[in-house]
Symmetry: C2
Subunit: 139 residues, 2 copies
């Protein structure tokens, strides 16, 4: 099982994003190979990768996305890149789980209204893990 974990890198960041992303990427390793494991490096967020051109990053990430069996997208943070990846994943009939921390903020109808993905709101990292476990059980 190849897993693509999508998260905000250049977009919005919350104070506990690093903690959440590191914990979820570690947890996902129970279910398969996490292609984007390096996203758990906190130095990446905000500035992105500096050794590769934007085109190299784009092409590598999309190549991973298209080879993945499942996409887990953390959408607590607003992000153009994560939205883009979900859009391309939907068109490629990928299995997609979108999760976000419970929030009164309106989520884009492009995510909450899409019936080609599963969307769940979690109250804690432990609850997020149960959503991930359920998602993989259904595959």
């Amino acid at each position: 099982m190849k897993i693509y974990y999508a998260m905000s890198i250049s977009g919005e960041q919350n104070t506990d994003s690093d903690k959440v992303n590191t914990a979820l990427i570690e947890f996902l390793k129970n279910f398969g190979e996490v292609l984007t494991e390096h996203f758990s490096n906190p130095a990446l967020t905000g500035i992105g990768e500096t050794k590769l051109s934007d085109k190299e990053i784009h092409d590598r990430d999309i190549s991973w996305l298209l080879s993945a069996d499942a996409i887990i997208a953390e959408v607590s943070n607003i992000s153009l890149g994560v939205g883009y990846e979900i859009g391309r994943a939907v068109e490629n009939n990928k299995k997609i789980l979108c999760i976000r921390k419970e929030s009164p903020k309106r989520l884009s109808a492009m995510i909450s209204g899409c019936d080609k993905l599963t969307f769940k709101e979690y109250s804690s990292i432990e609850v997020a893990k149960t959503f991930i476990s359920e998602f993989f059980k259904q595959q």
Copy 2:
């Protein structure tokens, strides 16, 4: 010519977003039918549409997106929905112009590194209009 103008609705908003969106939607009418003309209603941003379900909004917007000949995406504001629309448009080989106000902020490599769209940064609404005119000349 059917045009889909994509902009942040539930995502980030800047103080001059309403002005920019209204001006650009008006300008786009010179080139064809703007399917998302109602996006220029300032009451929409932040809360979105309240009379339709999220699924109804999603399905209507994606139906418009897939029927459009050209997508103009305003990406000054970070938005999951706009990213999603660009991703689906790329997969459907649409002609795509992404524009944003000049900014030192890093743009997602999923947009800046994608060679299946045109990306331009504008200093003023007038300059944005020239990018739009050039884009339609090339179609």
